[in-house]
Symmetry: C2
Subunit: 190 residues, 2 copies
């Protein structure tokens, strides 16, 4: 699924630092895919391309999203952090030729999460949070948990996102809260 | 609006400690009502009765809510903390004879908040958070802010609730997030 030219194009589009982060997310996604019996190929490409919408050089993501005929909800429209995921799914499809819906969704929802996430979506969300370059209080707990319980690791990952967003006084996407609530309810019934 | 017998009935129903907390919330609500030009009488009764649904003695709040023909959303149904507010509004109406919708809503939404809160609803939510018996990191900041900017104090109060709920691994009510998002958007446009 990954073509050789993906690497050069991605580095050119998102810059060296984000590219290196993407490689680490790819590796971590592959590691988790093996544990949870998910296609390694899909995990690799979704991990590699998850930030392909974070275009460098001051490009107007909102304008670009409009050019791609992407309909954004009002919250996403006002949040650079959220636009890049939705835009990324469109770029992965149109510029990298990705057609697998699960891969595209893993890119689209890697920032907010959502209800009923697939295993691949969960893996990329978590891998993005715990790749070796990340450091925040509690990250090692999530790293360990990710190897044994994907859903618990996802709850902790979402919690981390929520705490970050609260501290930064940014809007909280309802999809993140819905994802977390659903996981907590499922866990409480196990 | 407050009848003399409210005090004895409330103390009897919710217990000494919660009763004393209620008196402090009443006082704080009155203080804020004066600052923000809200009816002192409404603030007093809403503050006093805000926890009138927290019945002591192991009463089944869910069962009682059903007896009152209260329709609970699925999240509230599973959360004792949330039931007491909705139940409290029904008790305030049926047992204390409160008819003022704004007072009833201040009781009903003092735990979750919601979009488009009235000034009275904001006051009771905040008063409950900052009455002198409360101590948590940052409470003094909210106390000071409450005297000069009701909405900013409310955002911080909701943030505190969300952080608490996240730490406790409890479900986050979407109404709290919607309330916070709306306030942040309004503040950003001022």
């Amino acid at each position: 699924m990954i073509k050789d030219w993906f690497y050069d194009k991605l580095k050119e589009n998102i810059g060296e630092l984000r590219y290196e982060h993407s490689l680490r997310v790819m590796e971590k996604s592959v590691e988790l895919a093996k544990i949870y019996n998910v296609s390694v190929e899909k995990a690799a490409v979704a991990g590699l391309l998850h930030d392909c919408g974070k275009l460098k050089g001051g490009i107007n993501l909102l304008k670009l999203a409009e050019d791609f005929d992407i309909i954004l909800d009002s919250m996403t429209k006002n949040n650079h952090e959220l636009i890049h995921s939705v835009l990324g799914a469109a770029i992965a499809e149109k510029e990298y030729g990705i057609v697998d819906e699960d891969v595209l969704n893993a890119i689209r929802f890697h920032t907010t999460g959502r209800e009923n996430m697939s295993k691949l979506e969960k893996i990329v969300y978590i891998a993005d949070m715990i790749e070796p370059g990340r450091s925040f209080e509690g990250v090692d707990d999530i790293r360990k948990l990710a190897l044994v319980d994907l859903d618990k690791a996802l709850i902790l990952s979402i919690d981390n996102t929520l705490k970050f967003v609260i501290e930064k006084r940014k809007l909280i996407h309802l999809d993140s809260v819905k994802a977390r609530n659903q996981l907590l309810i499922q866990k409480s019934m196990e």
